[in-house]
């Protein structure tokens, strides 16, 4: 069995937003739609204060609450674990957003282009977006099916993102999980998310990220 998942290294991430724009340009998401985001917050008091960066996206849960909640059956989980919204079936009730403990799906309402007039790039890219449907990360399924990594992984200047088969003990994602401290977001809810967050330096003291703050 294959279970595709992500490992996000919070210690490596520098908050550069490379993944956010890489996702946007790869998938051509319209204005207002981000499948990939980096949350920023501040912890501590001066001078022992710092900002933290937490890349977030759909967690492609093994037990996705969104599937059960969707009234039209538009959301499917592939055998490799990728959770996809079928926009030919979705009617945009956003029950998925209500059900998602991570507040991930967003609705595309044809808000339009970035300039007052649509660009040729946007015209090509937006053709695959249906207005009034829910949107979220696909793990770059079109790339994955060609054997290529998701766009955010490829672009990440800090090598903070790893993608691979969580069931394969030899995979890079498992190599990282074997050697580092990690958590999964809101694991206690039983969603069984496929995204792991690494914290602290390799085997050493906790470094740039306040793990408590993001857990």
């Amino acid at each position: 069995m294959t279970r595709l998942g992500f490992v996000v290294d919070l210690e490596r991430c520098v908050g550069c937003m490379g993944c956010v724009i890489a996702c946007k340009v790869e998938n051509g998401t319209p204005r207002g739609v981000h499948w990939m985001r980096v949350l920023e917050r501040e912890v501590g008091t001066f001078p022992n204060a710092r900002r933290t960066f937490t890349p977030v996206r759909c967690n492609h849960c093994a037990n996705p609450p969104c599937i059960a909640a969707c009234p039209t059956g538009a959301i499917e989980k592939r055998p490799d674990g990728i959770v996809l919204i079928n926009d030919q079936v979705c009617v945009g009730t956003m029950a998925c957003l209500t059900a998602c403990p991570y507040y991930i799906p967003v609705r595309y309402d044809g808000d339009g282009a970035y300039f007052d007039e649509i660009t040729p790039y946007e015209e090509t890219k937006y053709a695959s977006f249906r207005e009034g449907t829910a949107q979220k990360c696909t793990f770059c399924v079109h790339r994955v099916d060609e054997g290529r990594p998701p766009a955010c992984v490829e672009a990440c200047p800090a090598d903070a993102l790893a993608f691979g088969d969580l069931e394969d003990p030899e995979s890079r994602v498992n190599e990282l999980l074997d050697h580092r401290r990690y958590f999964r977001p809101r694991e206690e809810l039983g969603t069984d998310p496929s995204v792991y967050y690494l914290v602290g330096k390799g085997g050493g003291p906790l470094g740039g990220v306040d793990a408590e703050a993001v857990e």
Binding site: C16, P47, R50, F53, F115, T124, G202
Partner: protein
């Protein structure tokens, strides 16, 4: 001849990339070229479908970015398809020219545009060769096309950086101490990094896409300690083991305190390196000058074996590093002794009072750093034993751009010099120091045995050593009054305002600039720059869109985006890496109808002005043409023909333009000597700038004869801390805070926030368009997070939302990125955020009389804006 590494087939050995598997180019419609969204110039593959650009990914074959891309690079498609793009030449109809005044553009044909510029150029040629000023950007071939005019006309006015304030000390000090153009950290080996006024390895700076991953590997996998010394708790501070907030304009005190702990308290320094590779043991007399051998004029050192003074190049020398000696009746101290005595004036307790950095922290960090440097240790790389110094103090923009900026920078750089980490594994590396292919460029020992940088990039800037003898200025940038500065373009608006004060006769009548933004990002107080632009007969700008600078142009000429243009560029290497490379930029899609490449436009202007043949001959030098590929008089070459001749001149017949067009990048292996040249350079590095004594005295005489009030206090061979105007205003409580600029990794460089994908990000992040104000300062002023506040400097008052935060020094206001556009062409971002530069006073009190840097400490009065 090095071994070529065909990047597509063989991955360079130093590419370290954990994570997913990657394949080479995913399809046929991916064209290799170079990103130009900032000056780093990463290599990319651009997807084109049906003539449309639809995606851009990093080129995995390229050593510069190894397939990675940043947010800005990824957003470049929206710059290319910018709907506010200029598509036709235009001229102004409104004779009134000023900041925020509508030029009243009207469209004109190319013929009229070219004729107008050619007529102005003919007038320059006929009447006054020194009445033309050129502003170009980076190393693109167009810089040479335009710059060739200066050698044809014999004029000094070619400003190669967009900003008149760019690189005031960083390159000078690079050349002086490391023989190269730009610094990087050898992250592969470094164990301890102190970033001072820079975000090296985390955000911004050169080589983002290779320094960030290597720094992350060093931090996370090897436990490299990162200490960030900065007024702002920025992205680098976010990833640091320790953030030490510092008051702006005090870096020299921090550096001298650091040196004091190393040299006087802990006794940690590289004796052998200092004795052999620097002028530390040179004997200095009471007048501050070297004590010289009467017969040869060579500087003398004290030989501990024979107890006599010997010339620096005597092979029998066992030099004394410190101490005071009698040399033929002259009492002399070693340069190192003088440095130790200067450092002793900065005990950490005094440094704390100046910088606000606690004395205990400074002591601890300096000692940790010294121990981490592992002085005396070696490492063997590819069978060659090299010094191993895995600790670096990295500094850049923060210390540099100040009144007395030289002293801030020099004090910090000496920390690296005394531990001997220059150009060795784990240490402070310099780009292009030593190159043996495709051309030979290696530093040599020059006057007094001191290192002189060689060829390569080294020819672009004037050098601090030996410097020049000051004389009464003829140039508009007063270059003659800055005998040790790299360049002094910053002064041009000042001299244009007061030509009689300086007795300068030159008057610019024609200015041609590339698509940069000199007004919004180039200098300081925008009105000072606008006054100068207003005084010029004809200002011509090549433009992608109408930015703030173009609003002061008389004629704007549309030009291709970086995806529509081909340039050959230059070779490069990442510090310490096994490979060097040459990457080109090429046309991915044709420009829209009516948009012509600027090289074609200039060729036409040159032809109509009768200088085309002279320019072609001059271009041979700039473009490094070699026989049989030289451009000849009477030759009329297409753009591709010239690119092909450039490629073959550099890499031979087998590597013409068609090779580069197909592969995008040529990669070859480097020797250990090129990668870590520190131990393979003959010349010595100064710890004591003896030449500054003469340069300062010569200058003092010139300015006295001119009757000019001119401060020469910076011509001190050793660093010292001197306060800037804003620091003193803060002390006197005349202002509430010093405004500083800091970088966000997604808005690095001149395009800033104006890209709509980046603007969308900035809209969601309160620090991007807001001003950072510390919680304590905000409370004392009755300001709450999200309040509108007014920031008043002597030259501008601006309104901005307060982002109340713990992540900024309590006496500082942090202003991010490159925002605050006011030009109509910035359709999406006009009026968002703050234009930092326009808060900076521009006058002699705020200009450094040594480097010509503008002081980047903005004196601010802050009030809550109830509106």
């Amino acid at each position: 001849m090095p071994t070529f590494v065909r990047g597509r087939d063989t991955k360079p050995a130093t590419v370290r990339r954990p994570g997913a598997e990657r394949r080479p180019r995913p399809g046929e419609d991916w064209i290799p070229t170079t990103c130009r969204m900032c000056l780093v110039a990463c290599q990319v593959l651009v997807q084109v479908k049906d003539g449309r650009v639809t995606n851009v990914i990093g080129n995995p074959d390229a050593p510069r970015n190894r397939g990675r891309m940043c947010a800005k690079g990824k957003s470049g498609i929206m710059n290319h398809y910018n709907r506010a793009r200029l598509l036709r030449p235009m001229k102004r109809t409104n004779p009134e020219k000023g900041v925020g005044i509508d030029p009243g553009w009207t469209e004109i044909g190319w013929d009229e545009a070219i004729d107008t510029v050619a007529a102005a150029l003919r007038k320059v040629i006929a009447e006054d060769h020194r009445s033309i000023y050129l502003q170009t950007w980076a190393d693109g071939d167009f810089a040479y096309w335009l710059g060739a005019l200066t050698s044809v006309l014999g004029t000094p006015y070619h400003q190669t950086g967009i900003s008149g304030t760019c690189g005031k000390t960083i390159h000078s000090i690079q050349y002086l101490t490391a023989g190269g153009w730009w610094d990087e950290v050898d992250f592969e080996h470094c164990n301890y990094l102190v970033d001072v006024g820079t975000q090296q390895g985390i955000a911004t700076r050169e080589g983002f896409n290779h320094s960030v991953p290597d720094c992350a590997t060093a931090r996370v996998e090897r436990g490299m300690k990162l200490v960030v010394v900065d007024p702002v708790g920025n992205n680098a501070a976010a990833k640091a083991d320790e953030w030490l907030p510092i008051l702006p304009g005090t870096d020299a005190a921090f550096g001298l305190g650091f040196l004091n702990v190393l040299l006087n308290e802990a006794g940690i320094y590289d004796r052998d390196f200092l004795a052999r590779r620097t002028n530390a043991p040179y004997l200095v007399g009471a007048d501050g000058r070297y004590v010289r051998d009467a017969a040869t004029g060579k500087p003398l050192l004290f030989d501990t074996a024979s107890r006599t003074a010997k010339p620096y190049d005597d092979p029998s020398l066992a030099p004394a590093l410190d101490g005071t000696y009698d040399v033929g009746g002259v009492r002399a101290k070693t340069a190192f002794q003088l440095l130790k005595e200067r450092a002793a004036e900065y005990p950490p307790e005094r440094v704390e009072r100046i910088t606000t950095v606690p004395a205990s922290d400074l002591r601890r960090i300096a000692r940790e750093f010294g121990q981490a440097a592992q002085i005396g240790s070696t490492i063997t790389i590819d069978g060659v034993e090299l010094p191993y110094r895995p600790a670096v103090l990295n500094w850049c923009r923060g210390p540099q751009d100040h009144k007395h900026g030289w002293h801030h920078s020099w004090a910090l750089q000496l920390v690296n010099v005394v531990v001997g980490n220059i150009n060795v594994p784990g240490g402070y590396q310099s780009r292009s120091t030593a190159v043996s292919y495709p051309e030979l460029s290696w530093p040599v020992a020059g006057p007094d045995g001191m290192m002189v940088p060689a060829g390569g990039h080294g020819t672009k800037h004037a050098l601090a050593f030996p410097g020049r003898t000051a004389k009464k200025p003829e140039r508009l940038d007063l270059f003659e009054l800055f005998p040790a500065a790299a360049h002094t373009r910053t002064l041009v608006p000042e001299v244009a305002r007061h030509p009689e004060t300086y007795g300068v006769q030159d008057k610019i009548e024609l200015l041609i600039h590339t698509a940069g933004n000199q007004i919004a990002g180039g200098w300081a107080d925008v009105n000072a720059v606008a006054d100068w632009y207003r005084s010029i007969g004809l200002v011509v700008g090549f433009a992608i869109e109408i930015n703030e600078t173009h609003e002061l142009d008389d004629i704007v000429l549309p030009m291709p985006t970086y995806l529509e243009e081909s340039t050959f560029g230059t070779y490069d290497a990442v510090c310490g890496e096994r490979v060097a490379f040459h990457a080109i930029q090429q046309q991915v899609v044709p420009p829209p109808d009516g948009v012509r490449p600027p090289m074609d436009v200039m060729r036409e202007i040159y032809a109509r002005s009768g200088v085309l043949d002279d320019v072609l001959v001059a271009l041979n030098k700039g473009l490094k043409m070699k026989p049989p590929y030289l451009l000849e008089r009477g030759g009329r070459y297409s753009a591709v023909e010239i690119l092909d001749r450039q490629a073959k001149s550099m890499y031979g017949e087998a590597h013409g333009w068609s090779f580069f067009s197909e592969h995008g990048v040529l990669v070859w292996e480097r020797s250990v000597e090129e990668r870590y040249p520190g131990a393979f350079i003959e010349g010595r590095i100064p710890v004591y700038m003896e030449n500054y004594i003469d340069r300062g005295e010569e200058l003092a005489q010139v300015v006295a004869e001119m009757g000019l009030a001119w401060d020469t206090c910076d011509y001190d061979p050793l660093p010292k801390w001197m306060p800037c105007e804003s620091y003193e205003q803060l002390e006197r409580r005349e202002i509430q805070a010093i405004g500083v600029h800091y970088k966000l990794p997604y808005v690095y460089g001149g395009q800033g926030n104006a890209n709509p994908l980046i603007d969308e990000l900035c809209e969601k992040l309160p620090q991007a368009y807001g001003a950072l104000i510390n919680t304590r300062l905000a409370a004392s002023l009755g300001i709450k997070d999200g309040d509108w506040v007014s920031l008043r400097s002597p030259v501008r008052t601006t309104r901005v939302r307060a982002h109340v935060t713990e992540c900024v020094h309590p006496q500082v206001v942090g202003i991010a990125g490159h925002a605050g556009h006011w030009a109509k062409g910035k359709t999406r971002t006009k009026g968002k955020g703050v234009n930092f530069n326009s808060l900076l006073p521009y006058d002699l009190a705020h200009l450094d009389a040594f480097t010509s840097a503008v002081d980047m400490c903005a004196p601010l009065v802050i009030t809550r804006d109830a509106r």
